[in-house]
């Protein structure tokens, strides 16, 4: 990706008629292959023993951490949301962190990738909301507190999707742009520091994207919250007593 390209969409590897394969697609496939192969290799031989391989330990820490975060943010049982929110987090994290590899361009630096992810969230929120509260219960929250708020709620839903997409795109793209500009201006040491900062922002942005997705889902399923809290409290008390 050169300095004047604003997104990896503009780097085209292969073209046949209207069908073109650009850098975003190639690197997304690369990341998918990497994650699937890695997960397959690690989960091929799991052990329930006390002794476990270090890779299994890594995966367990990641999954357990995600479950805890979802439980704390959503105040709900994490198992329903873990597949969706967890995959978002892992995909964006791997996309951003792999930028230490030379020649790699993060697919999240393209607005099409981030828009696709944001649209996934946009669709997942009503799906989880309807699964949890039913269609009428879900639609009711649009006319809350009054029916006059209906257009604002709808606009809010759309604008937060746009914000989700542009935020991730802007952060990753700005990191790469700054690294490229500094490479032209001060090519020794300084780009390395900015690259390290870029890794930090990449990780934080992945975290924030998934936290926001979880917050939106939690706000669509809020009616159940008190009941589940009570259940969890009872379970905790049981666990403490036994």
């Amino acid at each position: 990706m050169e300095l004047k390209d604003i997104s990896p969409d503009q780097v085209i590897f292969w073209q046949w008629g209207a069908v073109s394969i650009n850098a975003t697609l190639v690197f997304t496939w690369g990341v998918m292959l990497f994650m699937v192969l890695g997960a397959w290799l690690i989960t091929r031989k799991l052990s329930a023993d006390i002794r476990l391989s270090r890779w299994q330990n890594l995966i367990e820490i990641i999954v357990d951490g995600m479950r805890n975060q979802i439980r704390e943010i959503g105040h709900q049982q994490p198992d329903t949301y873990l597949p969706f929110v967890g995959s978002l987090f892992l995909f964006i994290t791997v996309c951003n962190l792999l930028s230490v590899v030379p020649g790699y361009t993060a697919p999240t630096a393209s607005l099409s990738t981030t828009a696709a992810l944001a649209i996934c969230v946009f669709i997942a929120v009503p799906v989880f909301g309807i699964l949890d509260r039913g269609i009428i219960g879900y639609l009711k929250q649009y006319v809350r507190p009054t029916a006059f708020m209906l257009p604002f709620n709808v606009i809010g839903e759309l604008s937060r999707t746009l914000a989700l997409a542009v935020r991730l795109f802007g952060n990753v793209m700005s990191g790469m742009k700054i690294a490229a500009i500094l490479l032209a201006v001060a090519p020794i040491l300084f780009p390395v520091l900015m690259h390290a900062l870029g890794l930090l922002t990449g990780l934080i942005q992945a975290y924030i994207f998934s936290v926001l997705a979880m917050v939106y889902i939690a706000s669509a399923t809020r009616a159940q919250q008190k009941k589940e809290d009570k259940q969890q409290k009872q379970e905790n008390e049981k666990g403490e007593n036994s």
């Binding site: 604003i6 914000a163 935020r167 795109f169 802007g170 952060n171 700005s174 934080i204 942005q205 936290v211």
Partner: protein, 92 residues
């Protein structure tokens, strides 16, 4: 002045002004948020996990306004549709 230089001047100046002004507000907001979060951590160190998480999410939300300005200025410099239109007209 022909339209190429007019558009060039307009885009570059606007890009600089956009990111310049757009950085002021988020900078003030982030400063306030971090200061407030630090004093709350000093008061309640036990809650530092929750405070830090909320702080990061909030910072990202605040920062996104600056990021929008950055995206607009980047589009003005690197992917300006008017510039490309004019270049196309001049070339063809």
């Amino acid at each position: 002045m022909d339209s190429i230089s007019l558009i060039g001047i307009g885009s570059i100046i606007t890009a600089g002004v956009t990111i310049g002004i757009g950085a002021i507000g988020p900078a003030l907001g982030e400063g306030r948020a971090v200061a407030q979060a630090l004093s709350s951590i000093a008061q309640q160190p036990d809650e530092s996990n929750t405070i830090t998480r909320t702080l990061f999410v909030g910072l990202a939300m605040i920062e996104s306004t600056a990021i929008y300005c950055f995206v607009v200025s980047m589009i003005l410099i690197f992917a300006n549709p008017f510039w490309e239109y004019v270049i196309e007209k001049a070339g063809g």
